[in-house]
């Protein structure tokens, strides 16, 4: 089990580094896919099968597909040449460092438990929580999804007006 953990842990890191250093957008997206898949397997190893398969279904199966389609929809050569991040790049850098510092602080302050967690990642356990104790956050999630739908449609509509 530990061997598998190390194997997929290293694969996840390789994927993440690949996203950083691969300049070709399609190959970069595929490294992201590797990272998502490896993390999905890590969830399975942590006895959270529901979370693991949802990770693969949503992240590897939908989000990377979205990225790939976005790359194919755009003009690739323009994407390669006009890659100037400017202010956006600076902000991303600051946020990234801040996030890293927070994670590091949390990790340093809290001991990581040695024993493996109880099986909480099963659909049954999650169902009991989502529809009992955490009902309000669950219903709020639907509003979040609603905002995402509306946002997507508005974004596209503006695009279409720009073109016409």
């Amino acid at each position: 089990m530990t061997t598998l953990f190390w194997l997929f842990g290293v694969l996840a890191i390789v994927g993440a580094l690949g996203v950083l250093f691969q300049t070709h957008p399609v190959r970069g997206a595929l490294f992201l896919l590797l990272n998502f898949l490896a993390i999905g397997v890590l969830y399975l190893l942590a006895r959270a099968p529901f979370v693991g398969f949802v990770q693969i279904l949503v992240y590897a199966g939908a989000i990377v597909v979205l990225f790939l389609v976005a790359i194919m929809v755009m003009d690739l050569r323009r994407l390669e040449s006009d890659f100037d991040l400017g202010l956006m790049g600076f902000l991303t850098f600051v946020l990234g460092v801040a996030f890293f510092v927070i994670v590091a602080l949390v990790l340093l302050k809290n001991q990581i438990p040695e024993v493996s967690p109880p099986p909480t990642g099963t659909p049954e356990a999650l169902g009991e929580w989502l529809f009992g104790q955490y009902l309000v956050p669950f219903e709020l999630a639907s509003i979040l999804l609603l905002v995402a739908i509306v946002g997507a449609i508005v974004l596209i509509r503006r695009r279409r007006q720009d073109v016409s």
Binding site: V26, L30, G40, F50, F53, L57, A62
Partner: protein, 316 residues
Amino acid sequence: MAQPIFQTLWKTGVVFLGALTAAAYLVLAERKFAGYFQERYGPNRVGPFGLLQPLADAVKLLLKEEVIFPQASRGLYLAAPVIIGVAALLPLAVIPFSEHFYIADLPVAVLYLLAVGSLSTYGVLLGGWSSNSKYALLGGLRSAAQMVSYEIAMALALVGVALMAQSLSLVKIVQAQQSLWFLIPQILGFVVFLIAAFAETNRLPFDLPEAESELVAGYHTEYSAFKFAMFFVGEYIHLFIVGCLVTVLYLGGWYGPWKPGPHWFFLKTFLVLFFMIWVRWTYPRFRFDQLMRFSWKVLIPVALLNLLLTSLWMAL
């Protein structure tokens, strides 16, 4: 520890060989039935009734000249058929062929099927893109858009089954159908699942990704020899799996009027597959806009309605 691994090894070997044979003979069955539907004989030269035709096809495809398309992105171009083949084989891991013969009984098998199914999108998307050919790119994108649109409807239909069986394990889903097949209480879900299955397997009337009259062959236009065959084999393994899944989810799996066993499973699977072949050679092709509209405006609302009705009926 060593014992279960050894068991998994031989079971997987049997299942893989079985699925490859099934795929090869499905191609023959399709050509044969197509022949009869169109009042001709179909393949009948190689072996009695053309039964050795799949073997001849395999040898021929193995020996064909391999053109590695020079303008293609080489790595991805070579990887795409592997992804297609592997993604087609993976769902076999959780299909219960009888009460005791299955590779793994996952408590979350339905999610596993959806997760693995979503990975086959990469095969067509990357195959289409890496070929660096206009027909292939359009075919790949169309195929991906179609697969993802019908995946939602299919997943919603699966929720109905999970609701009735109170489990996501395929073995438990079949066991829940001992007295009554889900076909009857889940008739709406069954219809949605079957239609989505036609679209997921890229078969007529939903075969737009490879509509030969407009896209030559779609995402595998630039593939030759066994790399081409891999797309073909993948498609037919996928078809076989869909037949198995309809049997498991809606037709009571290994249960039958008499003694339960794998023979019922295979009989039902064969009937489902025959139906799918029959439909393919009967109906014309949709237009792409009709296809997309149908999934989002008809199938998804019907699947949601099915869910609400099923759950309300269970609560009352």
